[in-house]
């Protein structure tokens, strides 16, 4: 066992997979330059020393190329782990991901596989509109991509390994405030969850969620940073006798609906928390599936807590309105319980 941050856990996961399988390699901007950063958030720091610059491949600033080369390499026997510095730049490579990576297997009638991993940091951290978006819903909407979103060090390493070994394109979203990156790359307001990570090989299966905190009154589903907002809210509400069950799906596609439905059937109430924009979003999809599958178990309307339908703003007071707070989760839980909101 070791106590690791998410950045460290990802690094160890990549290291072990690269040792295990010579076809695994990393590519991205500033990931292995000597004296450099190890990627935007230090995940690949030091790896080029062990694996050299052929397998920790520093690319030009060319996102279409990064994604496309990863796809081509994956189709022909390699297992690339590609990196964008900020999730927002996934939009630059959208054709490669949505039209190429996601469709190769389908268009080939199941004869071509694309075993690649694409890693992308999301979350609003005072950098303005183009370095802050939570883009999960754009990609969960694309058939052919798997999407994972670890919120703990244990899951980050375990899901990274599963993603590398999976024979499909897997997009891994990571939250900037959860990395625990050190030095100059540590973020203001970071939570930096440090967790126990086994030394021996293990994986976290893609498609399996987890109950982070059991409770009988209300089910709250969150992902990435909002798992922690939900846990914080649950703690506060517990002191008032309200028992919140917090579910972290860990994988967004395929989504562990069984876990969520089973919980909602017990609690009869659901709140879904996300940092994505609200309309046509991820929480909307979870709510729709629950409404379809467990409607008669519900004792209250389903409530979403999301970012408003705006680009992420820069100024901290506006950003505070944008990113769902613990208080907004508390209010939503009180709402589905039919209790008055906290006075403010």
């Amino acid at each position: 066992m070791a106590l690791l941050t998410i950045a460290e856990a990802l690094r160890e996961g990549i290291r072990e997979e690269m040792r295990r399988d010579p076809t695994v390699f990393c590519l991205g901007e500033d990931i292995g330059v000597p004296g450099g950063f190890g990627g935007a958030f230090t995940v690949t720091l030091g790896l080029s020393e062990e694996f050299g610059h052929e397998r920790i491949l520093d690319t030009p600033i060319s996102e279409i190329g990064i994604a496309g080369l990863a796809i081509g390499a994956a189709m022909t026997g390699m297992r690339p782990i590609a990196d964008v510095q900020y999730g927002d730049f996934l939009f630059c490579m959208m054709d490669q991901l949505a039209n190429q990576a996601a469709k190769m297997t389908y268009m080939s009638g199941g004869t071509v596989k694309v075993p690649m991993v694409m890693r992308a940091p999301v979350g609003s951290t005072r950098r303005g509109s183009q370095h802050a978006q939570s883009l999960e819903a754009f990609f969960t909407h694309i058939p052919g991509l798997k999407v994972v979103a670890p919120s703990t060090a244990y899951d980050a390493k375990g899901l990274l390994k599963s993603a590398v070994r999976d024979d499909n394109p897997v997009l891994m979203f990571e939250h900037k405030l959860l990395y625990g990156s050190k030095g100059g790359r540590s973020e203001k307001g970071a939570l930096s969850p440090i967790g126990e990570v086994p030394d021996e090989d293990y994986t976290v299966p893609i498609g399996k969620g987890i109950i982070r905190r059991p409770g009988r009154d209300v089910t709250v589903v969150g992902k990435l940073l909002t798992v922690y907002r939900a846990l914080g809210a649950a703690e506060t509400l517990a002191a008032r006798g309200i028992e919140v069950e917090v579910i972290d799906p860990r994988t967004l596609v395929p989504l562990d609906m069984e876990l969520i439905l089973e919980s909602v059937r017990r609690t009869g109430r659901l709140v879904v928390v996300e940092e994505d924009n609200r309309t046509h979003g991820w929480a909307a999809e979870v709510a729709a599936q629950v409404a379809e599958e467990a409607f008669f178990y519900l004792d209250a309307p389903i409530k979403r807590v999301s970012a408003p339908d705006t680009p992420p703003p820069f100024a901290p007071p506006m950003e505070a309105l944008y990113v769902p707070s613990e208080q907004r989760v508390i209010d939503a839980v009180l709402y589905v319980l039919g209790e008055p909101p906290d006075a403010r």
Partner: protein, 330 residues
């Protein structure tokens, strides 16, 4: 016309007065950025910063060839471009302070400063993302026969984005009035240009698009201004775009968190010998000329006023986040 070439139009040299004015603009950018750095360390600026120190001659030299109504697209490193294009220091500083009197009302932050009143839309922090937009502004100028020119700034790193290539090709085939200004400061974040570009000069690529490629000493503001003016005249005459590669160096880290361990202190020292302020200063007057100190004083006052403007500005309200998603009228 294609291939790497020095454009040979007769460019009349600047008067002494105008040279001093370029010096003042460069000094303003330098001292503004230094102040930003200090204010960041005091916790007054809640975001990271990409400082322009060392590259002042590029922004100032290019903008010296532009009219107020000409357009400019900028990057994640936009403070110098904004100041040179004529955005006032106060609203830029206020934006960095995340105040509602900032040039983006606190919505943008350091990477998105701009001012459409001087032809500069919010800086585009998606590397390479500005080039097609610049070509579009130039297309509009051409269609409107307005005679406006657009300067599109990007780095050596940005030169490798697909968007930049599409923009250059379209600008070339339609002879759009654009200056593609590549600020080659030898690094894209930590990555040396030699590792990301296989030709010796980024300007060499111009031949592939059928536009002139011009290489200029990016630390010599007079050389930048002369090259820019030649390209601007060409553009205004309907002869199309130019790729102008300005060889320069950033004196600071890529962003606030960068200790520059991927480059040597010797390399930095060598470039500091060619500080754009020293290069022009040597042309202007002897170092002890009192005008230098006078200028320091007036620049310092201008920045003090900018900081005071920023300090005095109100914080945006949380609900302001909901405004301006769509056009709300003048």
């Amino acid at each position: 016309m294609s291939g790497t070439a020095v454009v040979e139009t007769e460019i009349e040299p600047l008067s002494g007065e105008d040279r001093w004015s370029l010096y003042r603009q460069m000094l303003l950018i330098r001292r503004f950025e230094e102040r930003c750095n200090a204010l960041f360390l005091q916790g007054k600026i809640p975001s990271t910063l990409h400082l322009y120190i060392g590259q002042e001659a590029v922004a100032v030299g290019i903008c010296a060839a532009l009219r107020v109504d000409d357009y400019l697209t900028s990057t994640h490193r936009p403070h110098g471009h904004a100041l040179a294009k004529g955005v006032s220091a106060g609203p830029i500083m206020a934006e960095l302070f995340a105040k509602s009197n900032g040039c983006c009302k606190g919505k943008g932050g350091s990477m998105h400063v701009g001012g459409m009143e001087v032809g500069m839309p919010p800086a585009i922090a998606i590397v390479g993302g500005g080039a097609p937009v610049a070509a579009g502004m130039a297309l509009s100028s051409k269609m409107r026969r307005s005679g406006q020119v657009t300067a599109s700034f990007f780095g050596d790193g940005g030169a490798n984005e697909g968007a930049v290539h599409e923009a250059m090709n379209m600008a070339a085939i339609w002879r759009l009035p654009v200056l593609f200004v590549c600020e080659n400061n030898l690094y894209g974040a930590s990555t040396p240009v030699g590792q990301t570009v296989a030709v010796e000069n980024i300007a060499d690529r111009a031949a592939g698009y059928g536009m002139p490629g011009v290489i200029v000493d990016g630390n010599d503001v007079l050389a930048v201004r002369d090259a820019a003016l030649a390209a601007v005249r060409r553009a205004r005459a309907g002869e199309g775009p130019t790729l102008l590669e300005c060889k320069t160096y950033r004196f600071c880290g890529h962003s606030r968190s960068d200790a520059c361990n991927y480059r040597t202190r010797d390399e930095e020292a060598a470039w500091k010998q060619r500080d754009p302020l020293l290069v022009l200063g040597a042309v202007l007057a002897a170092a002890e000329d009192p005008r230098f100190e006078e200028m320091e004083r007036s620049v310092s006052e201008e920045i003090d006023a900018a900081v005071a403007y920023a300090e005095a500005g109100p914080d945006p309200l949380p609900e302001d986040a909901l405004l301006h998603v769509y056009w709300e009228g003048e």
